[in-house]
């Protein structure tokens, strides 16, 4: 019984050992390794990474328990936490990876021993003399695999990066191949290959990135097999400076105006934005005037689009956007917001004005005169009214001027209406006698900005009743 237990304990590691197989992975395929792996050559200061895969080629589970490395210039760069249980191999997902870096610091041959459970694998690498690659002006050599950022640049404009090749060894060396790949990247320029570099000599060259779109760019620079990653960012050219212009710069109520957006130059790029309008009344207690709005699309917000090559923007799909100024004094502010640009504002002041009368009618009815006044008071302060009636010859009627303070009535109206400062007033005057002898009436109405007079409004006869059916 005791002997069986000892035998089982001895056999278990052997079984696990036999089940694990180590592969070198080149990024696409796995190649089984034997007892020796040559990782290749690297220049002093470079790092050459080798990727290994471990598979369980048995029928049952196996445990990766040991992963060690001993030797100069080699290190395990990444590895799974141990112990690591591997299921029988059925595909990529069932294997485990560890990476070994070869980073020589001097010329010569290097070796190390890699232990994977009981598998002993010898690693060999060679450090060869190679020109150092530097960014011109920098004292720090680039290491293979290092990323060099070109920064960002406007589409169509080349970003040039200067490099230099420097022979730090005591003997001359030859650079045989320098290549650049990647969309947008070009070069090298300034090199004639093969390049002979004596000890201590250097040679500069350039690589350029010319972005074709506002997107990230990535490429490679390879110097005799040592690859460096190149990155950059394309930037769309900025939209030209835009300026808001009104068809009329005269601020007044009850105006239909239009707005255009001119560009300082033809745009090199398409772009979008918004144009909003906001209103700040100058009338105390008034918060808004719904008549102040764009005349198409959403009331106070319009889309702005700039087409490549255009010298003006489209507002709501049109070359200009009509708006109206309402009937309330205050400030209308337009805010233009374009992509990647700070918002800009332009205001149109609507000053206080005396009442503007749009319609003034008078009609004689049986026993009364009705006077209709339609217009707007953008100060919301209408108060004193004066009416003077005239006979058919144009002479004032003997009653003289009739004054009325309608301030309270107007205030009550303005406090409840949604019509801004516009109003339609009906004044009914009881009359005794023949109303047809009254020829006209002059109406004066005042607000805080002044008085407005509708002179000699003719008094129309009563409307005829409908004719009887034929």
């Amino acid at each position: 019984m005791i002997r069986r237990t000892l035998l089982f304990a001895l056999l278990l590691p052997l079984s696990a050992l036999a089940q694990l197989q180590v592969f070198v992975f080149n990024g696409t395929t796995d190649t089984p390794v034997g007892s020796l792996v040559n990782v290749g050559a690297a220049a002093p200061g470079d790092t050459l990474e080798t990727r290994f895969h471990v598979r369980n080629i048995g029928d049952g589970p196996a445990t990766l328990e040991t992963l060690t490395l001993s030797g100069q210039a080699f290190t395990i760069a990444s590895a799974p936490s141990l112990p690591y249980i591997l299921a029988p191999y059925v595909g990529l997902a069932s294997e485990v990876e560890f990476d070994v870096d070869f980073s020589p610091t001097s010329l010569g041959s290097f070796s190390a021993f890699l232990a994977v459970n009981g598998n002993q694998i010898a690693l060999q690498g060679t450090s060869v003399a190679a020109a150092e690659v530097l960014i011109l002006g920098s004292q720090t050599p680039l290491t293979a695999g290092q990323t060099i950022s070109f920064g960002s640049g406007v589409v169509g404009t080349a970003i040039i990066q200067n490099f230099s090749l420097f022979n730090t060894s005591s003997a001359s060396l030859t650079v045989n191949a320098v290549t650049v790949t990647g969309t947008g990247f070009s070069g090298p320029t300034g090199l004639t290959l093969p390049l002979q570099l004596g000890s201590g000599q250097s040679q500069s060259f350039q690589v350029s990135l010319t972005p074709e779109a506002g997107t990230p760019y990535q490429g490679t620079l390879t110097v005799d097999g040592r690859m460096f990653v190149l990155t950059g960012q394309g930037l769309d050219p900025p939209l030209p400076i835009a300026s808001i212009a009104f068809a009329s710069n005269v601020g007044a109520s009850a105006q239909q105006n239009s707005i255009t957006i001119a560009l300082a130059s033809a745009s090199e790029v398409s772009g979008n934005g918004t144009l909003t309008m906001a209103f700040q009344p100058s009338v105390a207690g008034v918060t808004d005037d719904p008549a102040i709005q764009f005349l198409s699309g959403p009331l106070r917000k319009a889309t702005v689009s700039i087409v490549k090559g255009a010298s003006s923007a489209l507002i709501g799909g049109q070359s200009s956007m009509a708006f109206q100024t309402g009937t309330t004094a205050g400030t209308i502010t337009f805010t233009l917001t374009l992509e990647n640009n700070a918002p800009q504002q332009t205001s149109l002041m609507i000053p206080d004005s005396p009442i503007i009368l749009d319609v003034a009618n008078a009609v004689a009815l049986l026993g009364s005169l009705n006077i209709s006044l339609s217009g707007f008071d953008n100060t919301y302060s209408a108060s004193q009214m004066v009416f003077i009636f005239y006979d058919l010859k144009g002479n004032p009627m003997p009653q003289g001027a009739i004054d009325v303070n309608a301030g309270a009535t107007f205030q009550q109206y303005f406090s409840s209406t949604q019509a801004g400062g516009s109003f339609a007033l009906l004044a009914e005057f009881p009359v005794s006698g023949n109303t047809t002898e009254i020829g006209s009436v002059t109406a004066q109405i005042a607000n805080s900005a002044g008085a407005t007079t509708a002179q000699q409004i003719p008094i129309a006869p009563p409307p005829a009743p409908p004719t009887p059916p034929i």
Binding site: A254, A291, S374, F376, T409, G420, A424, L425
Partner: protein, 251 residues
């Protein structure tokens, strides 16, 4: 002897004040909507009726046509009466006082009169094969039909209710679309904008960027609605003498 009662301000009654109304329009959703405001500052009110095919407003009464009915409404938009009517649009005209009106329904070639409280079909001795562009209601006993005959628009003066001869004359220089107002004025377009031909044959030209195709309808006594037939854009034409102008209405 005429005497104004209440010569003292304290005895004079306060005026009635309300939002000014500029008429009615048919909006892009075929709804009847009041227009409030003053010249140059318009606000559309809430929809009052839907499925409108045609509408017009004189300043005191309005007519509207749905696909199957003809109705009259007052200045508040309240429906006064309606009758069944043949399908399709209608043309409207108002009498000079604005209280009576005519409707012409092309699909049935029929005239219907609004007499202030009821609709009444109007017998007329008329059988016009040409396209009727507009109608007018110049007198209580007469209708006028503006018809397109080749390149010329003719006005046919049609006695109502009597089997009398039709008189006709060419409206030289007028082109479709056109509208006859209750004032007797004609509204049409030229290459520069809108033309208002007064009843005394003088013309007022209003510069305006006109849509490629449009219709005209009376929206108030001194206002004409111009509807862009290819978009939801609507415009208001002010036809009052001395105040003529062309404005865009909010959508």
């Amino acid at each position: 002897m005429v005497a104004l009662v209440a010569a003292l301000p304290s005895a004079w009654p306060q005026p009635a004040i309300a939002p000014p109304q500029l008429g009615f329009v048919r909006d892009g959703a075929s709804a009847l909507r009041p227009v409030y405001g003053v010249t140059g500052s318009f606000v559309l009110g809430s929809p009052l009726a839907g499925k409108i095919v045609s509408e017009a407003f004189s300043g005191s009464i309005g007519l509207l046509k749905t696909d199957s009915s003809l109705a009259a409404f007052d200045s508040t938009g309240k429906r006064l009466a309606s009758i069944n009517a043949a399908g399709g649009p209608a043309l409207f005209a108002f009498s000079s006082g604005g209280n009576t009106a005519l409707a012409y329904i092309p699909s049935s070639n029929s005239l219907i009169e609004w007499r202030g409280s009821v609709f009444a079909p109007v017998p007329a001795n008329y059988d016009e094969p040409d396209t009727v562009l507009a109608i007018a209601f110049p007198t209580p006993l007469e209708a006028a039909l503006m018809v397109q005959r080749k390149d010329t628009i003719w006005e046919l003066d049609l006695p109502l209710g009597k089997n009398q001869a039709i008189s006709q004359h060419a409206l030289i220089g007028v082109r479709a679309p056109m509208l006859a107002l209750l004032t007797g004025d004609l509204v049409y377009s030229d290459s520069h904008g809108i033309v208002v031909r007064r009843s005394d044959v003088t013309e007022v030209h209003i510069a305006a960027p006109l849509p490629a195709s449009f219709s005209l309808q009376q929206m108030n006594q001194n206002w004409v609605l111009l509807m862009d037939l290819n978009s939801s854009a609507q415009f208001a034409i002010h036809t009052a003498p001395g105040r003529e102008g062309f404005y865009r209405l909010p959508e």
